[in-house]
């Protein structure tokens, strides 16, 4: 239980810090870089290294590569839904999560489940 409380607090602080940095930066496309900051990864990997060791963290970060490529695909899908389909931000970003899931697990399957 304590582990999850620590995860929640550390994750909340790191994610909020990157999000606020994105808020104060201009132009907006540059601030968007911080929307894809590895904030959850930083919070999680720190705890993982402490709890399970470097080898486990290496395995996770290796798999994260597929997630990052899926994130790029997700962002392109969000952009298209906003500009071409004229959806609002909330439905566009939520619907696109399907694209992220398909891309992430698809890439993992392509790599034989190793990534």
């Amino acid at each position: 239980m304590t582990e999850y409380v620590v995860r929640f607090l550390v994750g909340g602080v790191v994610v909020s810090a990157f999000a606020m940095l994105g808020d104060v930066l201009r132009p907006k496309s540059f601030a968007g870089l911080f929307a894809a900051a590895p904030s959850v990864a930083l919070a999680t990997l720190g705890i993982v290294v402490y709890q399970h060791g470097a080898s486990y963290a290496a395995q996770q970060s290796f798999s994260m590569m597929a997630g990052a490529i899926a994130l790029a695909i997700y962002c392109v899908v969000v952009c298209h839904l906003l500009v071409r389909a004229r959806l609002r931000a909330a439905p566009a970003s939520l619907l696109s999560l399907v694209a992220w899931l398909i891309a992430a697990f698809g890439l993992r399957a392509l790599a034989g489940g190793q990534t």
């Binding site: 790191v14 930066l25 201009r26 132009p27 968007g32 930083l42 994260m64 962002c75 952009c79």
Partner: protein, 159 residues
């Protein structure tokens, strides 16, 4: 066209306290969820979720909402401008995803040698690749704009 990256601290005043609370909660929840997935399905599946765009939904919605509010205060509808602002954020995030990929590559390469070097190297790789990708895209857009203007000018001269 000049590229000017600048700080706009006044943007923080546009946010409401509950919006920051939502982001904190979502960030915390995403980190807990990633930990839960890792312990239930293993490091490989859990690793995918390190790149989950968990707070992107909240951030994009806030950006859209702030832009609409700003336009409405000026007596304009603002829906289109709100969507465009969120789309610009998504375009930037797509470039940031390459930075995240660089982070993952660097971290997995270094962590078994030195944990400190892994965090420092991966964070630097994220920043360098993201910023370089942004400048490159900016440059390409500016070249494309110049070519279009030149083509239009030549067509006008010929016509």
């Amino acid at each position: 066209m000049t590229t000017s990256i600048r700080f706009s601290p006044s943007s923080l005043r546009e946010g409401r306290w509950h919006e920051y609370l939502i982001r904190f909660t979502l960030g915390g929840a995403a980190t807990v969820f990633t930990g839960f997935v890792s312990s239930r399905y293993g490091a490989s599946v859990g690793g995918l979720f390190l790149a989950l765009p968990a707070i992107f939904c909240a951030s994009a919605t806030l950006i859209e909402k702030h832009e609409i509010r700003r336009k409405q205060e000026a007596g304009l509808p603002g829906e289109r401008r709100g969507r465009e602002a969120a789309a610009l954020d998504a375009a930037g995030a797509a470039l940031g995803a390459f930075g995240m990929l660089a982070f993952a590559i660097m971290f997995s390469f270094l962590v078994e040698r030195s944990v400190t070097a892994a965090f420092a190297g991966a964070s630097l790789a994220w920043l360098a690749v993201s910023v370089a990708a942004w400048f490159m895209r900016r440059k390409m857009a500016s070249v494309a704009r110049r070519r279009t203007a030149e083509r239009t000018r030549l067509r006008d001269v010929a016509g």
